[in-house]
């Protein structure tokens, strides 16, 4: 269902139900509250004057003057402004759904990098090309960190041609080395979006459509030079939709209708980067596995990668079908003796022992050379457990809650002393925007209280509630 | 020949004072003999502080073998340091050198075909007692049993007291105003600092403290054996807690007068002259802390007030008499506001300061250590290269001539000249040789030997003729 969205910020129909509020942080592109059909109840009544990133340029903000965005409270400290920014982060998380959204973990991603002339523009210091390269390098590392079993390939568009720089592979080092030698990546000529998409689709054709196939296009030109002939960009788009390849496009220059159409029809996201921070946010938003709900338009497909474990063909069926794969957890050999490894036949120290056939493999995750078992070290899998068991958001304690029930006066996590409740003057006492005046946040399950820092740390990095875990 | 830029001095630039704040203490301890250390190591506080002053690798080895019964064998240390067995002994010895200097380890001994360092027993017992608290030497200070309702100075008051007395010491001891010998009404402009004083002021607070203590120790207790007693008193002070009061008589039975002297320097605070109760100030308790900031009462950025512009103009946002006096040495101060001093670096004043023995390095070190945070925002280097080079040039200007006593030998026969030249070069007597005019310049003290040689050669050549 193509959405005809006119360009005027804030005008898109999707956000009718919010009270008309110009101040709404309406950067063109995915609204901060999750992707399509996404999660979370409608926007709660948004108090206007919502904190805006101080880093934005003055002319970015709508006509409302920006000086009242960061207010100093009577004591002259910016404390409350910082606090409100933190609260915005917390509220954003509160709106994310609590139920473990099913995400597909085995992901195959093609990064299509536009290396046209426009990449040499100087609107990002020193040039767009340098900035994008820098961000891509950290992006690849972070991506593999969160999707250990995923694979990435790189395609570049220049001189109206597209070229596979790195075939789809699971080894980050290989990709990083290619991304770091600038000689091979000289921007020149014009990009051809159609060629890039065709090549990406070709690159993924051998993969059975049971895995989550994705394409990330970093587009900096405002035009595309496509070959004429029978197949046009629209036919290629239809192919993409049928083979369920999800396309995220990040444009550096401006919004191009075809790009928005491609991304929205294939279930991806389309965003135009306004400044470097926003560009980085857009990039980093595509790292976590795409959220899929049971009835989402583009059903996720399950991948059976190892030949051995090939189960039946993925039946259509309403509920998405996963597959049960046999995986082996290896034993890491001590560095004492040197033994021959099965994958290269070299004499090596250390290495991993396949749990079924006992042959030695150099690095993990791979398929065992001898018995074909997929060998994965368990921490790799464990890395993605945190969103299987998300930590429930902590309830905010107002002054009266603390008064009524006996609560400990030190934070359960870092044992820091809570501010004494009596000293908080009534003025600040009301709970607004997710910030507890008493600085206490309570876990529903284990009823232990935490301070603001611990609350953020637990939900962002630790993903384990000290109280509930024994 | 490209003139080396002065801003990055050549290798042989005089190394600034060794970085460790306890340099004075190290030099003093290095030339003490074994019995002095035996006396010192009776107190546990000394063992603890000496252990802390060792470099980390050596300290780890000592702690590693503290509880082992056997002696420290070189093979064990090699294994611990992951060196292969055939590594030369010198390498291992060099790692353990600091401990040997402090007599913690006895020199290497060869027993049962194993090279080993026996651990000094007094030190071993002292350190073990320090860690387990079983010592008997009350070296961590006997608390003064005061009746609870005595008011006790807070830590801030102690710090303030320590600062003022130390500051006073600064102004009086190191600066003299030639026109006002009595020192009652020092005229700011003429207040000059002795060159030694300038060097002293440049060092960070902790080095200064140790220099004062060591100066006091060597001056007052040079001969008497109580110098070990006083030194261990310094270390005990280092282990005491700020804000806790101690009884002087019980803690330091033999070092009473030394303790009272320290009161004047601001290391301890005594409510009244003869009372037995004393409070160590922050100067004392952070003695062997190893990080300068602990003893610095001025916050770091208070010390950073200097802005140096490329046109040699200096803006100093300070009203501290001492800092202005220091600037007065080499800066032509033009305007003085309540919190700002404006001046210019000019040749006359800088040369005058250099006459007093202050080197270009010291001035540069002073300017960079007191640079205003604003200076950091410009790309490095901190001080503009032109100014740094100019300072070095002025310094070089002063000693354009190098003069040395000499004796000139003028020869007429090439053969004799060559023989004498090689002879003089052999025993390093040659200062300069000018083959063109057959001239040799010889160290005066080697003149007799060389003339003797020349005479003998002359007879030989003449007889051989």
């Amino acid at each position: 269902m193509p959405l005809d969205v006119n360009y005027a910020p804030g005008g898109s129909d999707e956000e009718e139900e919010d009270d008309e509020d110009i101040l709404n942080d309406n950067r063109p592109g995915p609204s901060s509250r999750g992707g399509k059909g996404g999660s979370g109840a409608g926007g709660a009544a948004k108090p206007n004057g919502k904190g805006k990133d101080p880093g934005r340029h003055a002319w970015e903000a709508e006509y409302k003057a920006s000086w009242d965005v960061v207010q100093e409270d009577e004591s002259g400290s910016l404390e409350s402004a910082v606090e409100s920014l933190l609260a915005r982060g917390r509220r954003k998380r509160a709106l994310m759904s609590e139920t473990p959204v099913r995400r597909s973990i085995i992901r195959h991603l093609f990064i299509i990098l536009d290396l046209s002339e426009s990449m040499n523009d100087k609107d990002y210091r020193p040039t767009r090309f340098e900035v994008i390269l820098g961000y891509l390098r950290t992006y690849v590392v972070e991506w593999f960190d969160q999707n250990p079993l995923g694979q990435i390939g790189i395609i570049i568009l220049r001189d109206r041609l597209s070229e596979v720089l790195v075939p789809m592979g699971g080894n980050p080092q290989e990709i990083l080395s290619v991304l770091s030698d600038k000689r091979r990546l000289e921007p020149s000529g014009e990009p051809s979006l159609q060629n890039g998409l065709v090549m990406a689709k070709g690159g993924m054709s051998h993969l059975p459509s049971t895995s989550s196939l994705e394409v990330l296009i970093v587009f900096s030109a405002i035009s595309t030079a496509d070959p004429d002939g029978s197949t046009t960009i629209h036919t290629v788009l239809n192919d993409l939709v049928t083979s369920r390849i999800r396309t995220n496009i990040i444009a550096l220059a401006g919004e191009i209708k075809i790009c928005r159409q491609i991304s929205e029809r294939t279930g991806g996201k389309f965003g135009v980067a306004l400044d470097q921070d926003h560009l980085k946010d857009l990039l980093w938003e595509t790292i976590p596995p795409p959220a899929t709900t049971v009835s989402s338009s583009a059903p996720t497909t399950m991948n059976v990668r190892s030949a051995l474990a090939a189960g039946g063909k993925a039946g259509g069926g309403k509920a998405p079908v996963g597959d049960l794969m046999v995986m082996g957890f290896p034993i890491r050999l001590p560095l004492g003796g040197e033994t021959l490894c099965a994958c290269h036949g070299l004499l090596k120290k250390g290495g991993y022992l396949c749990p079924r056939c006992g042959s030695k493999l150099c690095d993990v995750p791979t398929d065992c050379e001898v018995c074909g078992l997929m060998v994965v070290s368990s921490p790799h899998l464990a890395r993605s457990f945190w969103f299987l068991f998300p930590v429930a958001n902590y309830g905010v304690l107002g002054v009266e809650d603390v008064m009524s029930v006996a609560s400990s006066e030190t934070c359960f996590g870092c044992d820091v002393e809570f501010p004494d409740v009596s000293t908080i003057d009534a003025g600040v006492a009301q709970v607004e925007d997710g910030v507890s005046p008493t600085g206490r946040y309570r876990c529903a399950k284990c009823r232990s209280d935490f301070c603001a820092d611990c609350d953020l740390y637990i939900h962002d990095t630790l993903h384990t509630c000290p109280g509930c875990a024994q | 020949m490209v003139q080396p830029s002065f801003s990055h001095p050549k290798k042989d630039a005089p190394a600034t004072t060794s970085s460790s704040p306890t340099a004075a203490l190290d030099t003093f301890l290095d030339n003490q003999h074994q019995s002095y250390f035996e006396e010192l190591y009776k107190s546990e506080a000394v063992c603890l502080c000496i252990l802390r002053l060792l470099p980390p690798v050596c300290r780890q080895i000592i702690l590693h073998y503290l509880w082992a019964h056997g002696t420290i064998r070189t093979t064990d240390v090699k294994q611990f340091l992951q060196k292969d067995i055939q590594a030369p002994l010198a390498e291992v010895d060099e790692v353990v050198r600091p401990a040997l200097n402090r007599k913690i380890l006895h020199p290497m001994v060869h027993k049962k075909n194993k090279m080993q360092w026996p651990l000094n027993d007094t030190f071993k017992r002292g350190l073990r007692n320090a860690l387990t608290g079983l010592g008997t030497s009350n070296s961590f200070g006997v608390p003064y049993d005061r009746d609870p309702n005595d008011e006790v100075p807070t830590e801030e008051e102690l710090i303030a007291y320590g600062e003022d007395t130390f500051e006073l010491l600064h102004d009086s001891g190191l600066m003299t105003d030639p026109a006002d010998p009595s020192g009652r009404s020092p005229n700011l402009v003429r207040l000059t600092i002795t060159s030694k004083g300038f060097q002293f002021l440049l060092e960070d607070r902790q080095t200064q403290l140790w220099e004062i203590l060591m100066y006091y120790l060597t001056a007052k207790e040079a001969n008497s054996e109580r110098s070990a007693e006083t030194l261990s008193m310094f270390f005990s002070l280092g282990c005491m807690q700020l804000g806790q009061d101690y009884s002087a008589s019980q803690s330091f039975p033999h070092a009473q007068n030394a303790l009272n002297d320290l009161a004047q320097y601001g290391f301890i605070y005594k409510p009244s002259e003869e009372s037995d109760q004393f409070f160590p100030t922050h100067l004392a308790t952070a003695l062997c802390s190893g990080d300068a900031s602990a003893t610095q009462s001025q916050t770091a950025d208070e010390k950073r007030f200097l802005i140096l512009e490329t046109n040699y103009k200096i803006y100093a946002y300070t009203s501290n008499e001492l800092e202005i006096a220091i600037l007065n040495l080499f800066v032509d101060i033009r305007i003085r506001y309540p919190n700002l001093v404006v001046g210019k670096l000019d040749r006359k004043n800088v040369k005058a300061a250099m006459e007093k023995g202050i080197s270009a390095y010291q001035i540069i070190a002073y300017l960079s250590s007191h640079a205003h945070p604003q200076m950091y925002s410009s790309p490095p280097p901190l001080l503009h290269p032109t100014i740094v080079d100019q300072l070095h040039l002025w310094d070089k200007e002063r000693n354009r001539l190098k003069t040395e006593e000499t004796v000139m030998f003028e020869f007429f026969s090439k053969e004799l000249y060559d023989d004498t030249e090689s002879e003089a070069r052999a025993n390093a007597a040659l200062q300069l040789a000018v083959p063109g005019q057959k001239l040799l310049f010889i160290e005066p003290q080697t003149k007799p030997a060389i003339t003797e040689f020349v005479k003998e050669r002359q007879n030989l050549l003449r007889s051989g003729l």
Binding site: A314, L353, R383, L462 | L131, G290
Partner: protein, 431 residues
Amino acid sequence: MTTAQPTAAEAVYPTTTPPSVLLVIVDIHPLSWSLLASPPPAPPFPVNHAIDLAGASPMTLPDFVTILMVFLNAHLASRWGNEVVVYGATAGRAKLLYPPPPSAVAGPSKPRPNSYRPFQLLDSRIEEGLREMISEEEDRLQSGDTAKLNEPSAMVSALTKALCFINRIVPPSNNTSDITNPNEPLAPGGSGPDRPETRILVINATPGAHVSASSDGQTNGDADGNASAQPTQGNQQRGGYVGLMNCVFAAQKAKVPIDVLSLPPPTIDASPPIFLQQAAHLTEGVYWQWNGRGGLLQYLHAVYLPPASLRHRPFAVPPQDAVGFRAACFCHHKTLDIGFVCSVCLSIFCEPRPVCLMCKTRFPIKSLPTLKTLAANIQSIPIPDTVPPPIIPKGVTPNGPNSVDGTRKGRGAGKTGGGGGGGRGEPIEID
């Protein structure tokens, strides 16, 4: 990792180390310590006569705490800014012992002339805190609330509290600083060099169990509707394997090594706590199992005293053991070598099941039989021995091929082995 041979004669060793904070988690589970107090006799150890002489030495909690106090004093003594944080972990509960909570009942006692004040504060407070915890244990026993008593000690809870503490005292330098202007000037006095380095030392006394993962995991395979109500063994899970893994990744991110000292000697506990071993391995910490023959103080000083900046260069670190990267299955909490993984949510099961427990994905029916036959003949292979056996001097006849320090008995538990996980088998004869 090749041992870095300092080539230059004067190997350039660090002259100063940053202040280091040592967080200690002591496992004071009463059952475990009763086992340690009366260890079985140590097996003969012909290879090294000195070790053979030292028989198995019983280790009670009070003795161990005194040894620990001397070790912590040594840590405080070695540098001015060093600090110590102590957590006590017992069945189902973990508590911060030192530094004392502000409302600590007994104020600091009068300074004793013969002990360094920080030592005295630390030691007296640890003793007090332990007594409090033990007394709480006792009245929990009296009050009959033994629900949590036979659970393993709350190691994960202690680890999360320690990580929260580290997050407070050493806020993570935002290493995701904008990469495009790397040369922002270092602010003057930027406390780069003296940023404290932190490390966690876990002292585990619980034998055998892959810590806190194999408790009586009641399996409730009820695939109740959309996972709105968290399945009960979920929080169990969050406390066990998943919780521990989350702590390991958080520690990795904060660059905090987790050292593990496993007290139960091989005679009591043939299989090491696998997940603590993995934690130490993944965070570049040190894992070491006590051989039960005394000398703990010396071992602590040798292995755990050097701070992270001095490890590997120059100080030696005990050789890395063979780490079994095993996982615990979500249904029975059994550690297993070969498991069945749902491709959607990567949850691990020990036998093929029609529907994924976690994400309710239905697996293709046809693939079940093939997987079942496959699961039948899985033989888990034994873990090879860690270090090649020392060359046995002539004249001493080793008794049996695998007499290396402390025999490793026990056949590798086959796939059907109950709790207690895969033990160590004979080393693979690579001849």
